[in-house]
């Protein structure tokens, strides 16, 4: 129940295309869903995050879509650029107590390659 399942494992898109990464969770106590971006040799960095009271959040070319009933959320990268090539992690956490309180459970990661 602690798992966050992420797909695809890897993704190749052309410059200007749309990159879509999906995540699903089981634990209904999760109420915070961030996405982290990791470049080779670096630590992960927060990209964008959403809480379940909204169904979509957009920041620049990055959009999170959230479907509470399906327990799924996804990251859309519009107009993908070669500089977006990185590993993307979805994560989930709980602010409301329980065994997931105060910690993030990460998905398995998606290696995104954007070809010029």
């Amino acid at each position: 129940q602690q798992q966050v399942k992420q797909s695809p494992q890897s993704l190749i898109v052309q410059k200007g295309g749309i990159s879509i990464i999906n995540c699903a969770y089981e634990n209904t106590a999760f109420d915070y869903f961030p996405w982290y971006q990791q470049f080779p040799g670096k630590g992960p960095a927060l990209l964008i995050a959403i809480r379940p009271d909204v169904s979509e959040k957009k920041e620049g070319r990055f959009t999170i879509s959230f479907n509470k009933s399906a327990k799924q959320f996804s990251l859309h990268i519009m107009d993908s650029q070669p500089g977006d090539s990185a590993t993307y992690f979805c994560a989930a956490g709980s602010t409301a107590g329980g065994t997931s309180y105060g910690k993030l459970t990460f998905g398995q990661g998606t290696i995104l390659t954007v070809h010029p």
Partner: protein, 114 residues
């Protein structure tokens, strides 16, 4: 200015040795974490501390012992290193206990056990 720093960046050692990794954050955060990232890039929390108090202790072998001398530092000591300990270890910090605003990660320590 580096927000979360770790030393060393690389660590190559023999099985059975004891080693330590140090972490410091200058963000004034109350909560610090240790994560392990394996060869498949899977990222898993190991420990978290809030104001020097252990909060999260995942199912980590007791060969791993975190120590927080003050809220700006969280060190990780590993006894009797095993081949399976080879991974990248990340320190992170966040402003509060819940820690779900933003976690700031360090650059990682790449540990290779031979």
């Amino acid at each position: 200015d580096t927000a979360v720093s770790q030393t060393p960046k690389y660590l190559v050692t023999q099985m059975g040795n004891d080693k330590s990794i140090k972490c410091e954050q200058n963000l004034g955060h109350d909560t610090m974490y240790w994560y392990k990232q394996d060869s498949k890039k899977f990222l898993k929390i190991m420990f978290s501390y809030n104001n020097k108090e252990l909060i999260i202790n995942e199912t980590v072998p007791n060969r791993f012992s975190p120590k927080s001398p003050d809220k700006a530092h969280l060190n990780l000591h590993i006894n009797s290193l095993e081949l399976g300990d080879s991974a990248v270890y990340f320190c992170a910090s966040s402003q509060d206990l819940v820690g779900l605003g933003t976690q700031y990660f360090g650059p990682g320590t790449r540990l290779l056990v031979l």
